[in-house]
Amino acid sequence: MSILNPIRRKHSKPGSATLWLGWIAAILALAFTSRGEAAETKRTLPLQASLIWGTDGLKPADLKCRDVSPQLKARFRKIFRWKNYYEITRKRTVVREGKTSQLDMSKKCRLKIRFADARMLEVILIGEGRLVKKVRHPIAAFLRGELLVLAGDDKNNFQDAWFVVLSHPRKPKPKSSPARADQGR
């Protein structure tokens, strides 16, 4: 046992190693708390936009389109009056912080999408070269699986309507392997 041990144990100052560890821990804590801010500046949001035609009639043979999914059709029918919905265009993009994504849905319809602020996404609908509508929608709503639908009557046929549906594409759940028939025997 060191002859200096009794006094040094009681009246000693914190060792330099402890102080260095304390300073390093404080710096790490500051660095980690700024992690949230750093993550926001690099955020992205994948989006899918579909141009849909709503009509009570049948699909024309010369029009390149396909039926919307049964799930979307069911949701639309609960809100809108048309019987049939056909998807004319589907496009995907990834909205990035500080940049504007542009989607040409048709010759007459263009979308511009960007982050408005920390909570909201800004969608600009441009029709025939003119700014038609500017919409700000909560990002959290997209992440929950909700849809933003910009819609209006078809200028050429007021019986029909057009819809631009914006959604956040979700990864499909992996299909579980079918149970083996001979398990448990």
């Binding site: 009794p6 009681k10 300073w23 509508k133 929950r144 639908v149 819609a151 009557d153």
Partner: protein, 161 residues
């Protein structure tokens, strides 16, 4: 031989000379008679100090000696002039701020690591989220907006486009 060389020879004899200087000083001692005489004199003094010094005996046992010294330190600390409470607190903080810093920083780092491990990593938290702002630059267009919570859908209907 200058003063610096004398100090280097002294350090060499004591075994405290940095390794990158030892060879140079050893060569100096071998080549310079004055340096060699200095080194020999220092070695003799070193031997004398180590071997001839009489062992000192304490009047009391080692444990009692340290206990008495400990008590004396406590007594001296208790005799310090009394401060008013504010000054006493500032004095306490001034003397111990470094001791407080280390555990406080460790607690802060632990909390930060816990947040890092548990906090969600993706998007901002959901907030009031059925609110949609709509701006219609064209005067001849109107619009109305409605939200269907059941269908999870916000519809912005543009009139007369």
């Amino acid at each position: 031989m200058n003063l610096k060389q004398q100090f280097e020879i002294q350090a060499w004899v004591d075994g405290e000379l940095p390794w990158w200087k030892r060879r140079r000083v050893a060569r100096l001692i071998e080549s310079d008679p004055e340096a060699r005489a200095e080194a020999e004199a220092l070695r003799k003094i070193q031997t004398l100090v180590r071997e001839e010094e009489a062992a000192r005996k304490l009047p009391v046992s080692l444990e009692r000696y340290w206990a008495e010294l400990d008590a004396k330190i406590d007594r001296l600390q208790g005799e310090r002039p009394r401060l008013d409470p504010g000054e006493a607190l500032m004095d306490w903080v001034r003397l111990r701020w470094r001791r407080l810093l280390a555990p406080a920083a460790a607690v802060g780092a632990a909390l930060a690591l816990a947040w890092l491990a548990l906090a969600p990593r993706t998007q901002p938290p959901p907030q009031a989220d059925s609110y949609v702002e709509v701006e219609t630059p064209l005067d001849d267009l109107g619009s109305f907006t409605f939200y269907s919570e059941a269908e999870g859908m916000t519809v912005v209907w543009v009139d007369a486009y």
